[in-house]
Symmetry: C2
Subunit: 112 residues, 2 copies
């Protein structure tokens, strides 16, 4: 579970569900990931057999990353989790902000 | 996505899908989590509105943790991801070990 239980693993796997992509395309799609963290994430996903690297002998050389057959078995769970995050992300943030506000009021009212 | 994208968040949420549990029961069910990490995980899940804490005025006092309505919306994705881990965990480990073995052979054959 560790291999998939990280934000950038999930975001990268989700981005690849529509087909192989280049490093630069993944950076753009992954909203805020640094090139270094993406490289580490891709290496870890490759080491676990979920992503494979294709190097095309072209000029200039072209490299793409794609899901392996094992990686494709993750498509549905990752799509479902991403859909959850999209549908419920706001409710989580709203709850967090309300809880924060309640704590601030409590602190203000505490006897000095 | 960050809130759920951690191993112990997922394991804890999955354990709670069958109903509220006590801290000690969660430690046993979560296979290897320390009490301290579980406490931190529960606090983070509470702060994000996914888990709630019930304290029963009994002697001795009883405290249980359960999924909130928002937390229950995660049940299906978490069940699906846990099923994936159970079905494919071994294939990932096998791949990793084979890749490791290949690297070792390569290193042995490298000219000295």
């Amino acid at each position: 579970m560790e291999i998939i239980a990280s934000k950038w693993s999930m975001v990268t796997l989700f981005a690849l569900t529509d087909g192989p992509l280049r490093h630069g395309e993944l950076v753009e799609l992954s909203g805020g990931i640094s090139r270094k963290v993406l490289t580490q994430t891709l290496r870890r996903l490759q080491a676990n057999g979920l992503v494979e690297r294709h190097a095309y002998a072209e000029a200039p050389p072209r490299v793409e990353y794609g899901l392996t057959d094992l990686g494709r078995t993750l498509e549905e769970p990752i799509r479902m989790l991403t859909a959850w995050a999209r549908e419920n992300g706001e409710a989580v943030v709203t709850f967090r902000e309300a809880a924060e506000a309640a704590r601030t009021i409590e602190a203000d009212q505490a006897p000095r």
